[in-house]
Subunit: 196 residues, 2 copies
DNA sequence: CCCTTTCTGTTGCATATATCACAAGTAATC
DNA sequence: GATTACTTGTGATATATGCAACAGAAAGGG
C-alpha cells in the first residue's frame, strides 16, 4: 500500500532539520509517526517564532500550509528523535489507477489527521490573538491544563522557546510570569506550572 | 445522499448568527455553500476578535475547533447573505450501514475542505505571530495581494474590523497605517490598498 | 572532569501600543 | 430629510512591551 503512494520513511535525531519549506522541489507532505517537532519561522531580522508544535499524527508540508513570504525561512525541526513518513500529497486526490482498495482508507485517515491539524491551529490562533502577554500565557496554560486534565502540567519546551511560541520578548514574558506568581494566579517550578 | 448524513441546509442574511460554539447540543459542522462569514470571539472584557474568515467551502463547528474557554463567547456571523449546509460530523467517520456508495466521496471532499481550512489557519497564524502592528499589517496585505495576484486589493471588511482581525487597538493601527502611507510603503483609499 | 553553551532570572531605559476622548464623514433606518 | 449608528481620522497621555546587558544555574560535549 505504501508503495502505491510513493511513501518513504525516515528517522531523525533531536535538532535535526526534517523539512525546509523553501525547497520548491517536492510536493511531499510529512506525517510524524514518532517523536515531536516544531514548525519554526525565522524572519529577515533573525527573529524566530514557533508556528506549530507537531506530535504523533502531525502533518506538515509546503503544499498544505503557508504561502510563505520569501523574506523569511521556515522549517520543521525535531524536538525529540522522530520517525517521519513522507508521501506524495497530490497523489492522495488522484484516482488510483490500480483501483487500490486501500486508497479510500488512506483518504479517511488523512481526513482525521487534517481535522486534528485544523484543531491544533485553532488553538494556536486562540493564543496568538490575545491582546497581552498575560492573556496569551493564561490562554496557553489553560489549554495545557485541559489537555492534561490537571491543574498542574509541564511545558513542552524551555521558557525561552515559550516566548517564541507566544510571539513576544523573553524578558517581558519573564516579568509577566513573575507577576502572575506574585499575584498567586499560578505557581511554578521550572517548567512545571500550576494554575490556581 | 444528503439524507444519509442528516444534512440540513439553511439560509441566513447579513449579520445573522449562524452558529454559537457555546451550545453543546449538536455535533453538527457547517459548510458555507454561498456567502462569507466570520468566526468571532468576544472575551470576558467585551473585546471582540475575528478568529477566522470563512468563504465558500469554509468549515466550522465546535467539534473540530477550539476547546473554547468558558470565559468568552464564540460565534459565526454572516458578513454577507449565506447558505450553509449542516451535517453530523461524527457520522462521516462511521462506517455507513447502508454501504452508501457516496460515503467515500464525501470523505474525500471533506478532506479537501479540511486541508483548505488548515491552510487558511496557517495564514492566520502567520499574521498573528508577527511582533508589531506594522509587520502584522504588511504580512496580511501581502497575503491579500498574493491572493488577488495584484499589488492592489480591497480589504474584505472595515478598518475597525481589520483591527479586530490583527488583534490590536484600532487607533494604534490607524497611526501605523498613516506612517506606512507617509513612508510610501503603501497607498490607500478607503478599503482599497496598494503595496508599493 | 572541565569547558562551553544554553537557559533562567533580573534590571534600567527606550519605544510601541493601548486608552480615552473628540469630531467629521458615511451609511443605514424610518 | 432627519435621526441614528457606525466608521474613519487624529491627538494627549498612561502603560505595556521590547531591547540591551549582565550574572548565576543548569545542561551538554569532549
Amino acid at each position: 500500500m505504501l508503495d502505491c503512494f510513493q511513501a518513504v520513511q525516515r528517522s531523525f535525531r533531536t535538532d535535526d532539520l526534517i523539512y525546509d519549506f523553501s525547497s520548491k522541489e517536492s510536493n511531499a507532505v510529512g506525517i510524524i509517526e514518532r517523536g515531536e517537532a516544531s514548525v519554526i519561522r525565522i524572519d529577515k531580522d533573525g527573529v524566530s517564532t514557533v508556528l506549530e508544535e507537531l506530535s504523533v499524527g502531525g502533518v506538515f508540508g509546503r503544499t498544505l500550509a503557508y504561502a510563505g513570504s520569501v523574506r523569511d525561512s521556515m522549517e520543521v525541526v525535531c524536538r525529540t528523535p522522530c520517525d517521519v513518513l513522507f508521501i506524495d500529497y497530490p497523489h492522495i486526490f488522484k484516482r488510483c489507477e490500480k483501483a487500490c482498495t486501500h486508497h479510500s482508507l488512506l483518504v479517511q485517515n488523512m481526513l482525521r489527521l487534517m481535522a486534528d491539524k485544523a484543531q491544533a491551529l485553532s488553538l494556536r490562533v486562540d493564543v496568538l490573538s490575545r491582546r497581552s502577554i498575560r492573556e496569551k500565557l493564561l490562554c496557553y496554560f489553560r489549554q495545557l491544563s485541559e489537555q492534561e486534565g490537571k491543574q498542574t502540567f509541564t511545558l513542552p519546551f524551555s521558557l525561552s522557546t515559550l516566548a517564541d511560541y507566544i510571539a513576544t520578548d523573553r524578558s517581558a514574558m519573564m516579568r509577566e510570569l513573575k507577576r502572575l506568581k506574585e499575584e498567586g494566579v499560578i505557581r511554578s517550578d521550572g517548567r512545571k506550572i500550576t494554575l490556581c
